[in-house]
């Protein structure tokens, strides 16, 4: 839809008097997501781009807006975030609407477990704190602004928890939910705690 719109508007521009050569230029839209995030947004470990299919529309919007406003993805050590931010920088509100609609059209298939070395039994104990917002089955809770965790790529969850713990994510003063996460994630203490809790989340399903 957006592509059609853009092609159409480019044509309008040339009718408006711009050179004919410009109408021959390759048009584009903002539907880039699957290049990095994989087939139907199922995530791509090869470029560490997480699963988008199944993400809640309100969560997608918040994150795209945070990236766009330089609230997320600015810390130099946040490798994946700094890769994502410039891709969101130039999105218009209409593009964000279109992307969210597009993502909603993809089938949600839970990600496979990949991480090794976590202890889900210890993780279950640690997850208690997470469950308050993200739900006992990690299915998320919109009223608390907490997205679903179950079914997400485990390597992505590990990276994000590490980033919260180290302050690479969630340290921006306007990142209200990020600040909450930073407080909560301190209970996981270290990488072992993170692996334990994510290996427990891997056992939950939506």
């Amino acid at each position: 839809m957006l592509k059609t719109f853009l092609v159409f508007s480019l044509c309008m521009v040339c009718i408006g008097g711009t050179s004919a050569a410009e109408s021959e230029r390759e048009p584009f839209d903002d539907r880039y997501c699957t290049t990095c995030h994989g087939t139907d947004g199922r995530g791509n470990e090869g470029v560490q781009a997480p699963r988008l299919a199944g993400m809640e529309p309100w969560y997608l919007r918040r994150q795209l807006e945070n990236f766009r406003a330089d609230i997320r993805g600015v810390h130099a050590e946040d490798r994946e975030g700094t890769a994502m931010r410039p891709m969101a920088t130039k999105l218009t509100d209409e593009s964000i609407d279109d992307i969210i609609d597009w993502i909603s059209s993809w089938d949600y298939i839970p990600a496979e477990a990949t991480i090794k070395g976590g202890d889900p039994l210890r993780g279950r104990g640690l997850y208690g704190g997470c469950a308050v917002c993200h739900g006992a089955n990690a299915t998320g809770n919109q009223s608390l602004g907490a997205p679903a965790l179950a079914g997400q790529n485990d390597w992505y969850l590990v990276t994000q928890l590490k980033n919260f713990l180290a302050g690479y994510r969630g340290a921006h003063p306007d990142d209200t939910y990020g600040a909450q996460m930073r407080t909560m994630v301190s209970t996981l203490r270290n990488e072992a705690g993170i692996l334990n809790v994510v290996s427990y989340i891997n056992l939950l399903s939506r």
Binding site: F28, G43, K90
Partner: protein
């Protein structure tokens, strides 16, 4: 017969011992012997012939081939298999063929995610920029064979130019010096040191008189030493004045202590050796003329803007699901050759064996970065520079002057090339990138900022459908580990005899067109052999 040589007079901290020379001679002999054993032609390692594929005609019942990606390797496969009767379909996710053989011209879209650009260069044949592949070594004979077969016009690519510059704030007070000044003086000083070391030893053994004389004459000639084996400057660096109608006046020497202030020498002196040594070529009018040579034959097989969603290898064929124009499509084929970058393939649904997927995931993606400007006038020609590369210690690293279009009004120059780690510039906004290159380039050409316009940048790490430059198999620079080599061999082999990964990514020498071509040829030869078996 023993000879006496003048003793060493000054300043070499450690003399070369006779034992070291004996070792040197022994080692050289060993290498030569190894070469001789490995080849019937002794010192010539191989005959200069490209591989010849002798593929059998397609079996009419099993002739459908899916090719994923219209990069050079994919096009090579399409071209060769079409010759022998296969029915090829090429799915290309972007709007253009060629992959990283990308020549940018007037009006072209540079589809960097988050930083789309249209190239605004003047619309003239010589106003192009090779944003990816840019050089063809004369030893890359398989690629050259296709250039010949497809009648691609080639011209010499000038990699080293003695009048180009080297610039480092540590050297010469930051003022650029010419390549020829650095190389002439460095060679002079190195030769003087070597001559002194040699003279110092009682070199009655292991050299014969004639060998010793030849060696000394070689050293003198290498560094342009005087009869006392001292370096006192050289006219090789050009004249300070005169030289034609008046006597030439020799330039002042740049002291060795000054030359040693830069760390760039080690990179600079080998920049035109190996793969980037003479002769190098480029396709006349842009490297994508090679791609055009292939698409003249197989272009009709390419489906553009067709993004692969799933690859399912089955016992009796292979199914490729893809999206085009917002619609799902299914392509059923007997065989598949796939040059989709490994790090993108990991995000595409597939039923490959675990080890194969592990190999795909192991490869890191290159981060190379290039930038180019249109020059309003060919200001470098006024400084005696025609083609070649100036080197800078700053992050923009290089300026390439075009190897073609001499004496025309304008030209396209490369304003930055970070082939090792382009992440620094990739992380910047377009405005920041350009400002960085202008600031860096001004160190060599003071009026640079006013002489260039219409910049473009190519951050391969963020290019749509690419997300990376050449594949990096090795985690560290010490060579391939056993594990890496195993994974490489896994990825080279077909899945179920039907699905081949190809491209320079499936080679031990990525980043070259030759590697892409050879990877395709290896897969085709293996494919043909399996059909025969």
């Amino acid at each position: 017969m023993p000879r006496s040589m003048p003793p060493l007079e000054v300043g070499v901290s450690k003399q070369v011992t006779r034992r070291e020379f004996l070792n040197l001679l022994g080692a050289a002999g060993g290498t030569a012997a190894a070469l001789k054993a490995g080849s019937a032609l002794g010192l010539l390692p191989h005959t200069a012939q490209a591989a010849t594929l002798d593929l059998r005609a397609a079996n009419p019942a099993k002739r459908k081939v899916a090719i994923l990606g219209a990069g050079l390797s994919g096009l090579t496969v399409a071209y060769e298999l079409s010759k022998v009767g296969y029915e090829c379909t090429i799915l290309e996710s972007s709007h253009r063929p060629g992959g990283r053989v990308f020549t940018v011209r007037h009006g072209d879209l540079i589809d960097e995610i988050g930083n789309r650009q249209y190239c605004e260069f003047d619309d003239e044949p010589h106003m192009y920029f090779n944003a990816g592949a840019a050089r063809i070594p004369s030893t890359h004979r398989n690629l050259l064979a296709y250039c010949k077969e497809l009648e691609i016009d080639l011209e010499v690519f000038i990699n080293e130019n003695k009048t180009s510059f080297m610039q480092d704030p540590a050297l010469n007070g930051g003022k650029p010096i010419r390549n020829i000044d650095y190389t002439t003086h460095t060679r002079g000083f190195l030769a003087e040191l070597l001559a002194k070391s040699l003279s110092a030893g009682e070199m009655d053994q292991p050299f014969t008189d004639s060998e010793a004389e030849t060696l000394m004459s070689l050293i003198r000639s290498f560094g342009d030493l005087n009869e006392d084996n001292l370096y006192k400057g050289s006219l090789r660096a050009g004249y300070a004045s005169g030289g034609f109608l008046e006597h030439g006046v020799q330039k002042d020497i740049i002291a060795m202590s000054e030359l040693l202030k830069t760390q760039m020498g080690s990179r600079f002196l080998n920049a035109s050796e190996g793969d980037t040594g003479p002769m190098l070529f480029q396709a006349v009018g842009g490297m994508d003329k090679i791609i055009e040579g292939f698409t003249n034959h197989v272009g009709h097989q390419i489906h553009y803007r067709s993004m692969v969603n799933a690859v399912e290898v089955k016992d009796d064929g292979i199914d490729i699901a893809y999206d085009q124009d917002g619609t799902h499509h299914l392509l059923q084929a007997d065989f598949c050759f796939n040059c989709i970058p490994s790090h993108i393939m990991t995000g595409i649904t597939n039923n490959f064996p675990t080890q194969y997927v592990d190999a795909l995931k192991y490869i890191r993606r290159g981060t190379a970065y290039k930038s180019a400007f249109q020059a309003k006038e060919r200001f470098w020609e006024k400084e005696d520079i025609y083609g070649g590369i100036s080197w800078m210690s700053n992050p923009s690293k290089q300026i390439w002057y075009p190897s073609a279009g001499m004496h025309k009004q304008k030209g396209i120059i490369l304003g930055a090339y970070d082939y090792i780690d382009g992440k620094l510039h990739t992380a910047m906004t377009q405005e920041q990138r350009i400002e960085a290159h202008l600031t860096d380039g001004e160190k060599i050409h003071p009026n640079y900022r006013n002489q260039v316009e219409k910049p473009i940048t190519i951050a391969w790490h963020r290019m749509n459908h690419m997300l990376g430059c050449s594949a990096r198999w090795q985690r560290d620079s010490d060579g391939w580990t056993h594990e890496e080599e195993e994974l490489y061999r896994v990825l080279q082999q077909p899945v179920n005899g039907r699905h081949y990964m190809i491209g320079d990514q499936v080679s031990m020498h990525s980043a070259w067109q030759e590697s892409a071509v050879m990877s395709a040829q290896w897969a085709l030869a293996d494919f043909d052999q399996r059909l025969q078996a």
